[in-house]
């Protein structure tokens, strides 16, 4: 243990290894205990989730010899939400020779996160980034290439080098298929057992350690008990707490929230990312929002009319009456400022009446200049499928008319607290990928979620899990253990309660209402009154939910409304905690913008003296009574500065 300060909670030992930053991971690897190869197959590891984090972890652990069980909600592991990632994945390869390095990737990520992440974790991520690309290429992932046959790179927000690898606009799909195929190979070899259409409803803790899970078979309604020596939670982010987001419909917080209630601290829940380039909302029937990859900002220019209320169509607005506001305000980064900055500026334009489109809640992203310069063919090679997707949804052709875009909820930096080994405050419960809070601080840079998910799953967990298993005596536990019966009963009762209310309003109704509260009061800009309002409004909504919910059908069959009802219930509790966390963080940083705390230019104003810490919330029995613990963040290698992208 290093660097604890007076305020650091004794419950939050980050276990950052000693030594200089550049050597911490190596030191860790040199001293971590190993599990005897013949013993690995005696250990069953439960991996919940099959996105990039879960699929890569399941494959790697099985290759090493562990006995793995893999769970996901969808009917196939390949459909996990990671499949939808578009733009790319970062790595410090410096193939273009433009001056990139592990240090720069580390530095950009720490700075992009507005100095609210742990140095050691981020540096490890940057070190591992290169191995990920090697691994994926070896699996046959068809990354974009140059005519010479070498890999191609592009730039992404928050960076001045080209370090993003991509596979057309379907990078997540190709990376996930690589990991999924690696996992299926292990299914074929009999070392991974795959459980599709399963939803984890509870964590089973025996003698203080995570030893199993309760899942519901979503095709039949049956509850199942699974025993293991460790549980890896790879269940993704909680952006759907806002109802409308770019996340897939099944993305949820339930698994993480159930673990939170069993003792896992929830860190920085208020850190959410609003992505600047999404297709604007078109009507109240809308079920989700579609992202237009940020990579578009490489070649697209963002603008609004200079005059508020100018309703002319874009081609009628002459050049000198357009405000390319990102280029104007941030000359060195221009359209490539980080997401939080781009999103807030779009909102500001809309707030000033300069928004475009029918609702006025949009700005233009214009490709005319790039098409003139590079030709339609090049643009179509880079973004063809995104342009098509846009046209399918809106009916407009972006080769001819500028896209209309607006910010939407996209990613959650917060998540279950983990130490350097990715272990939560429940021993034996590890958390990987978007579900943990670890690497992105208060704002994630583009193309680094895929990097983090695969780093956690391919290259970190195999070592840290081994260290845990080798250092821990794990007495035999089986399904008849009372803790399993209790947890299963809790789940059964909860399902029965949801079905038994027989009120007047559907799960979707409550989810929409919750989303409205969250977007208005805990969204892109937050203030004290709004946050207090959110807390009381969510409280009333929860009360109404438990008295007036209507879930059709029964528990002993496929029943998606029952699944959703359970998720909405958890989202409401989480939403309240997010508002509290946002209220108590009296500063602005990254995606958390408190209107009371801004610079004269309207930029986020951090308060490093008082808030350079991770807020990790402990559940103590009742929602609203969570206790906050602090992990002080210590910066020994970078100097905290006011972020500037000017």
């Amino acid at each position: 243990m290093t660097s604890s300060t007076m305020n650091n909670s004794p419950r939050l030992d980050s276990k950052v290894p000693a030594g200089p930053l550049q050597q911490k991971w190596e030191n860790y690897l040199n001293t971590a205990k190993l599990v005897n190869p013949n013993n690995k197959r005696k250990h069953t590891i439960l991996v919940v989730g099959t996105g990039l984090a879960g699929a890569s972890a399941a494959a790697t652990l099985a290759e090493l010899g562990y006995n793995v069980r893999s769970f996901c909600i969808q009917d196939s592991a390949r459909r996990a939400h990671s499949i939808a990632a578009q733009g790319g994945i970062n790595a410090a390869k410096n193939y273009p020779g433009d001056g990139d390095s592990v240090w720069r990737l580390f530095y950009d990520t720490i700075k992009g996160g507005d100095y609210r992440s742990r140095e050691a974790n981020v540096h490890r991520l940057a070190e591992i980034s290169n191995n990920i690309i090697d691994q994926c290429v070896a699996q046959g992932v068809p990354f974009a290439r140059e005519y010479g046959g070498l890999l191609s790179n592009r730039s992404f927000g928050g960076a001045q080098v080209s370090r993003t690898f991509y596979a057309r606009g379907q990078t997540g799909q190709q990376l996930l298929l690589g990991a999924y195929q690696a996992m299926e190979r292990m299914v074929g070899a009999g070392r991974v057992k795959q459980y599709d259409r399963r939803e984890m409803l509870d964590l089973v803790v025996v003698d203080g350690r995570a030893r199993g899970i309760i899942v519901r078979n979503l095709a039949t309604g049956e509850l199942e008990r699974h025993v293991g020596d460790a549980v890896l939670l790879c269940t993704g982010g909680y952006g759907n707490v806002y109802y409308l987001s770019t996340n897939a419909k099944n993305s949820n917080v339930t698994a993480a929230w159930r673990c939170h209630k069993r003792g896992a601290f929830f860190a920085n829940p208020c850190f959410t990312q609003i992505h600047p380039t999404c297709i604007p909302v078109s009507g109240d029937y809308q079920s989700k929002l579609t992202l237009m990859s940020e990579s578009l900002r490489n070649d697209g220019r963002v603008w609004v009319p200079k005059t508020a209320g100018d309703r002319r169509s874009p081609e009628q607005i002459p050049e000198d009456e357009r405000d390319y506001y990102l280029e104007r305000k941030y000359p060195s980064f221009g359209n490539l400022v980080p997401r939080d900055v781009a999103s807030r500026n779009a909102k500001e334009m809309a707030d000033h009446g300069k928004g475009v489109g029918e609702t006025g809640m949009a700005v233009y992203l214009d490709f005319a200049e790039s098409i003139n310069r590079l030709g339609e063919k090049v643009i179509s090679e880079r973004y063809g499928n995104l342009f098509e997707m846009y046209e399918k949804i809106t009916g407009d052709n972006p080769y001819k008319v500028p896209m209309r875009i607006y910010p939407a909820v996209h990613y959650t930096m917060g998540g279950l607290w983990v130490d350097y080994e990715l272990m939560s405050t429940v021993p034996g419960l590890f958390v990987l990928g978007e579900a943990n809070f670890s690497d992105h601080g208060a704002n994630r840079l583009g193309a680094s979620a895929l990097m983090q998910g695969l780093s956690d799953g391919y290259f970190v967990i195999s070592h840290t899990l081994g260290n845990y298993i080798a250092n821990t005596s794990l007495p035999k536990v089986d399904e008849s253990n009372a803790a399993f019966a209790d947890a299963e009963n809790d789940s059964r009762e909860r399902l029965a309660t949801l079905l038994g209310i027989k009120g007047e309003k559907t799960p979707v109704h409550f989810h929409r209402e919750l989303g409205k509260i969250m977007w208005d009061d805990v969204g892109m800009a937050r203030n004290r009154d709004g946050l207090n309002h959110a807390i009381s409004a969510i409280g009333s909504l929860r009360e109404e939910f438990w008295n007036n919910l209507r879930v059709p059908g029964s528990n002993d069959t496929m029943n998606k409304n029952l699944e959703f009802a359970g998720r909405v219930a958890d989202f409401m509790e989480l939403g309240e905690l997010m508002a509290r966390d946002a209220l108590e963080r009296e500063e602005s940083c990254g995606g958390h913008f408190r209107e009371e705390y801004q610079t004269e230019d309207g930029e986020a104003l951090r308060n490093d003296d008082e808030f350079t810490f991770v807020a990790a919330w402990e559940h103590t029995g009742r929602v609203g009574d969570e206790v906050k613990h602090r992990e002080e963040l210590v910066f020994e290698n970078v100097k905290l500065t006011q972020r500037s992208y000017k």
């Binding site: 494959a59 790697t60 290759e63 969808q74 009917d75 196939s76 592991a77 390949r78 459909r79 939400h81 499949i83 939808a84 390869k93 191995n131 690309i133 090697d134 691994q135 290429v137 070896a138 699996q139 046959g140 068809p142 290439r145 140059e146 010479g148 046959g149 890999l151 799909q173 190709q174 999924y180 195929q181 299926e184 190979r185 299914v187 074929g188 599709d196 095709a219 897939a248 419909k249 029937y285 079920s287 989700k288 579609t290 029918e358 098509e388 997707m389 399918k392 009916g395 391919y458 290259f459 195999s462 559907t506 979707v508 059709p552 059908g553 069959t557 496929m558 029943n559 998606k560 409304n561």
Partner: protein, 254 residues
Amino acid sequence: MADKLMTINLKVWRQDGPDKPGRLAPYTVEGVNPHMSFLEMFDLLNERLILRGEEPIEFDSDCREGICGSCSMVINGIPHGPHRGTAVCQLHMRHYRDGDTLTVEPWRANAFPLIKDLVVDRGAFDRIIAAGGFVSVNTGSAPDANSLPVEKAASDAAFDFAACIGCGACVAACPNASASLFTGAKIAHLSLYPQGEPERRRRVIAMVNQMEAEGFGDCSNHGECEAVCPKQISISAIAIMRREYVKAVVASND
């Protein structure tokens, strides 16, 4: 634009479970906004069914942007509906007219047993991949990514096949319920890419055998699969698969 709301008449396949009888049930959906997606129309209908005390229609969906391969509805006999290169989640109601009547059914194939209403079990696809749809490279053993240059044309061609979303529309469209386009696409991706070369023979034999073991039918070149594929995977994948298969069998007889 103030868009005129439409009324759509649906006949939807309802079936309580795998061994239960099924039937087409009629529904009238009023107030359909032309900008809604097809699945949003189903959301709207389901909300109304719940409030009327009826059971909503179960159907699969997740990403709702044409990439996860979850959604699966046959509309008037065509998997994913009438638009080329579009999954049903990307189909918008502006392509229909007020008063249209549409029949909506699940994927039908012996190898895709029905679970409930419009939901089927596509686990057979996973098992085909598990049989050989991968490159055997353990984590941590890969050489530098640029150590093996790949011709851009080969890489682009491999990508075209790798774009498959595994939805199963090809099977649903095929009169023989063949999985040849799905299986062929993975084989083509990995045989066009140098990294897949060392295992190409073993792979094609294992995958084709698994495809047959799952009960998918033979391919007799109808071409319906290519026509409905939301990613417009070329039927040439099947030719590549056949060629690879013959080569592999010949080689194993050497």
